[in-house]
């Protein structure tokens, strides 16, 4: 089974989730005995091929076109469809990021393919692809199989390991795809959030605050602890709705799905829609003054107490 993997980039760089996709696709190609082609799109792609090679692509397809520097649903859909046709792959793998969640269904519709979205595990045996994915805000895990090929698969970021391989040189080729006349939804502006802040979906440690933090100013404690740990700040919807924190930090069904190694939730009750965004974290710590708060049921470690007392002690202890 030949596989095409789309390697997601942002700002000229390969995103960590893009490499996770390459590694997972490599594994599937090994099982299925097929060829793995990685596709990169945008500008100045040549200097990125080495990085993709290390993770096991047999060949790399570059779609060098400035019209693909920024994401447009139609531009990317056309480019990826062209790559699919050029390689004759049966399976298209990509990431379930903000970009991938938009692109995967569009590509599946274009290719008349089975869509297996937001996977947290993938198996390929006896010619059949079977995946698991969280549904109902994570209250259930669904197992989904594809009855036919082609298949478009999107992988939940941080659910798959990145493993370096012995570098074998991949065959690099270019594909010309004219997309500009296909793009009707034109990207006219991109506003990056201020500063070089670590994105919660890519952070290994997240310190998140909820309404129990009481005031916007108290989030200084959350920020300080996140800084000390080299992590990112997360927030519940209640505090985003109160405009204490930007929506880009919101974790949960309406915000982002994260799976860091360590998630510290301070003053967060643990509503189902919040859990939907963070329950796959490796280790969860809850700080809440209510011993009955539901968050404790989903946590590995808990401290019952006032976050405004516990957090300063934590900041100090971590610094030691």
């Amino acid at each position: 089974m030949d596989i095409l993997v789309y390697v997601e980039m942002r700002g000229g760089k390969i995103r960590p989730a893009g490499l996770e996709a390459v590694c997972s696709a490599r594994k599937l190609a090994d099982i299925g005995g097929g060829k793995l082609t990685a596709v990169l799109m945008g500008s100045n792609l040549e200097n990125l091929t080495g990085k993709v090679e290390k993770y096991g692509a047999d060949s790399i397809l570059l779609i060098d076109n400035p019209d693909l520097d920024g994401y447009t649903p139609e531009g990317y859909r056309e480019a990826l469809t062209a790559a699919y046709e050029a390689t004759g792959a049966k399976l298209v793998v990509m990431t379930a990021t903000a970009l991938g969640r938009d692109l995967a269904p569009a590509v599946a519709a274009k290719l008349d393919a089975a869509l297996l979205p937001d996977c947290t595990s993938v198996e390929y045996s006896e010619g059949k692809l079977s995946v698991t994915r969280p549904v109902y805000a994570g209250r259930c895990i669904m197992t989904l199989t594809a009855n036919s090929f082609p298949v478009v698969l999107s992988l939940q970021p941080k659910a798959f390991l990145v493993v370096e391989r012995e570098a074998v040189s991949a065959e690099v080729s270019k594909l010309e795809v004219a997309v500009s006349d296909k793009i009707r939804a034109r990207l006219i502006e991109t506003r990056a959030q201020a500063g070089e802040k670590l994105d919660v979906t890519e952070a290994d440690i997240i310190v998140a605050g909820g309404r129990g933090m009481k005031t916007e100013e108290n989030f200084k404690l959350i920020e300080d602890l996140a800084d000390k740990l080299g992590g990112a700040v997360g927030a519940s919807r209640a505090v985003v709705d109160s405009e204490w924190r930007p929506h880009s930090e919101q974790v949960g069904q309406t915000g982002k799905v994260v799976s860091p190694t360590l998630y510290i939730a301070a003053g967060i009750s643990g509503a189902i829609q919040h859990l939907a965004g963070m329950r796959s974290s490796k280790v969860i710590v809850a700080i809440n003054k209510d011993p009955e708060a539901p968050i404790f049921k989903s946590s590995d470690y808990g401290i019952v107490g006032d976050a405004m007392e516990v957090l300063p002690a934590l900041i100090e202890a971590v610094g030691e």
Binding site: P73, A109, L115, R139, A185, A276
Partner: protein, 248 residues
């Protein structure tokens, strides 16, 4: 402006779910079903655009008899017409999208809305799929929208910022929280909605390309430890994170 909104009935997000005996679907007994929360933003936005540009709002739902509730709720909010695409189930994502697209095609709609995701399957797939099948442009997960007579400007979120798109009509938008504040249905709206006829259309079964073969509860986390109370518990927490969990 002729506007179509895709709406779906889903289990209330607060409902505690039981997996049915078939181990493939949830048991539908004893749970409250509601209009998908993200579809409320879609209906609201359609109503706001109608208020500005005139025209009509048609809501469409694909599903069994239960889908009627999603349509009545949308009518009660103020939608003009409703279409129920009747299916006994068994469709996959693409099947749903194909059926919806077929019902929407060549009806002269200028603007289409869907929710960013349905909170049952949590896919977020139907909007982009329907747009692709209708061969119209789309923007998903939209938090700000400006509609003019022949184009729209939409803002969409990504992980670390916002992207702004300019799109000619007809186009499809999927709605995210922040776009508007969905209205509550008025008593009068609810009464009116009861009297409206819902157009029923039987749909053809499409062979599913993807199939749900199992549904399970997520693996239980081992029961968590309450390390202690207040700031005194911090040293022990740090020790556990370092030595037991090995994450620091």
């Amino acid at each position: 402006m002729k506007i179509a909104v895709l709406v779906k009935l889903v289990p209330d997000t607060e409902a505690s779910l039981k997996i049915g005996e078939d181990r493939r679907y949830i048991s539908k007994e004893d749970i409250n079903f509601v209009l998908n929360p993200f579809d409320e933003y879609a209906v609201e936005e359609a109503l706001l655009q109608k208020a500005k540009h005139g025209g009509s709002v048609t809501v469409i739902s694909l599903g069994g008899d239960e889908a009627v509730k999603a349509l009545r709720n949308s009518l009660a909010m103020g939608a003009d017409d409703a279409v129920h695409l009747k299916t006994p189930g068994g469709l996959d994502m693409l099947g749903v999208a194909r059926t919806l697209a077929a019902a929407l095609k060549d009806k002269g709609y200028d603007l289409f809305f869907a929710g960013k995701q349905a909170v049952d399957d949590d896919c977020g797939a139907v909007g982009p799929m329907v747009a692709t099948l209708l061969d119209i442009p789309h923007v998903s997960v939209v938090t700000k929208l400006e509609v003019e007579t022949d184009k729209l400007i939409a803002e969409r979120e990504f992980e670390t910022g916002t992207e702004v798109y300019e799109v000619p009509l007809p186009a499809l938008i999927t709605t995210q929280k922040g776009l508007n504040e969905p209205r509550y249905a008025s008593l009068k709206g609810i009464m009116m909605a009861k009297k409206k006829t819902i157009e029923e259309v039987d749909v053809e079964q499409i062979t599913a390309k993807a199939e749900t073969v199992g549904l399970a509860y997520p693996p239980m986390r081992p029961p968590g430890k309450i390390v202690g109370e207040g700031a005194e518990a911090v040293p022990e927490l740090i020790r556990l994170l370092k030595e037991e969990a090995k994450v620091l």
